[in-house]
């Protein structure tokens, strides 16, 4: 507390946020538009150095043990009252709304003034053609049902997970009157979209252990990113033969 202003220091790795989100939110990428890995780019190196420094300020082991406590008990550190603030995904609102704690939701600040730092992916529904038209038609009917306004409103309301069907979101009074939903919907305009990489769908699994090694000071951040870049390039070469 200084000058009547309360400064809150948040441990910005708890909840559901990682190095990946910070990279995307500073406008950097892990893959170029034509799917070439650029994991060890200058901007990513700067970000990992900041990330490692930030986590090490609290102690990597302390961070890991807090995360371990969370995964062992299944209790979120924020909901358990261990931390005053954390970054989390939108559907965490469901747990918040079911808890009896006093909470507020705010957009995650971006790198520049006035920017929000949110990113999101989505999922897709696919119909695989096995050559049976009857099954394909039935699947298509199911797909239409799942993506209808009524279904999307139902799932969004039940799971607190915004629908990509804009008509469903616009026409529902629950979403329009709820202040938390309003924050979620407002940040959508600036939300960066995560991209699926078909040549290396599991690229994050190759980067995450390297990040851990940097956090535990087993490798320098630069070495960790270079090793991750190498591992992802090798995986892409292998995947071309092995398929995925």
């Amino acid at each position: 507390m200084a000058d009547g202003i309360l400064y809150l220091h948040a441990l910005s790795t708890l909840g559901n946020v990682s190095f990946r989100d910070y990279v995307l939110n500073r406008g950097s990428v892990f893959f170029t538009d034509d799917s070439k890995p650029v994991v060890n780019s200058g901007a990513n190196l700067e970000t990992i150095e900041w990330y490692v420094e930030m986590t090490n300020k609290y102690g990597a082991k302390q961070v890991q043990s807090l995360q371990a406590a969370s995964s062992t008990t299944g209790i979120d550190p924020f909901l358990a009252g261990f931390v005053a603030m954390e970054v989390n995904v939108v559907d965490f609102y469901k747990k918040l709304s079911e808890s009896d704690i006093n909470y507020g939701v705010a957009p995650m600040p971006g790198l520049k003034e006035g920017e929000n730092a949110t990113q999101g992916g989505s999922f897709d529904l696919e119909i695989f053609d096995h050559g049976d038209q009857k099954k394909a038609d039935a699947a298509w009917e199911f797909l239409k049902f799942m993506t209808s306004i009524e279904s999307q409103q139902y799932w969004a309301s039940e799971n607190k997970w915004p629908s990509t069907n804009q008509a469903a979101m616009d026409s529902c009074t629950e979403f329009n009157e709820d202040p938390v939903w309003q924050v979620i919907l407002e940040v959508m305009a600036q939300t960066k979209v995560t991209k699926y990489e078909p040549t290396a769908p599991n690229w994050w699994n190759l980067l995450a252990p390297e990040l851990e090694a940097a956090q535990l000071e087993q490798k320098t951040p630069e070495q960790a990113l270079n090793d991750a870049q190498q591992a992802i390039e090798t995986a892409i070469e292998n995947n071309a033969v092995l398929g995925n």
Binding site: K61, Q64, A68, Q218, E237, G243, N244
Partner: protein
Amino acid sequence: MGRNQKGQGRRMKRRENLMGYLFASPWLMGFFIFTLYPMCSSLYYSFTNYNTLKAPKWIGLRNYQIMFTSDPLFWKSIWNTVYYAVLSVPLGIAMGVLIALLLNRKVRGMRFFRTIFYLPTVVSSVAVSLLWMWILEPNFGLLNTFLGRIGIIGPGWLTDPAWSKNSLILMSLWSVGGGMLIYLAALQDVPESLYEAATIDGAGAFKKFFKITLPMITPTLFYNLITGVIGGLQVFSQAFIMTNGGPSYSTYFYGYHLYNKAFSEYQMGYASALAWVLLVMTLLLSLIIFKTSDKWVYYEGK
């Protein structure tokens, strides 16, 4: 007359054979459908690129070539698995024998203790894993709380790459009850007369253990070594439930790599090749143990 008898005998033999196969058929069907067919299929898939949606595509030895030349996780997972097996199997055997020796004493309430020591073996590995996650939790886990009471700052256990494999090895000792039971049976088979003779000759407790008990239970040790090595190389569920292979791949075992390739990346061909390499490794190790068994396993009848 003779020819008739012969024909009758042949018919009876044929009928007996048929009945035999009929009675064995549930097992035979199970073997052909659930063991032989998947084995043959996986051998074929190991030479293909197969993602379960499209038909398998023959790629010859490429899966094996990639595995040995450009998959760093293959070697990492082998190192982790070998480390785990090399430490957990002998430790498990030593612990099993030690507990069996203690439970072989004739004191009151022994049946109760035998049941208690065997009990963890019947608990599912998922429940055991969850229990140990609580025990090994660095902040408020049972073990670190206890160590803290006696002035020791406990390590991060599963969250520390230097301790994670050792933590799983420590945890594996929880289920030595299975082996213990077999050692106990073997210990009770050692003739009392041998100990009596040794006592007359002036042998002490250590000498009796190393010269009588241990040689006499070597067939059991041999059996448990073989099954332990096979089980050790297949270690998977603990890492899957407790650590997700981390931190920093430190508990990324061979079985986990196989699982990831098959059910996370849908590279069934590559996963099949991994399975066959594991089979060959297991066979080779078993063969080595069998070959050396002449030198250290003692059979009474021989």
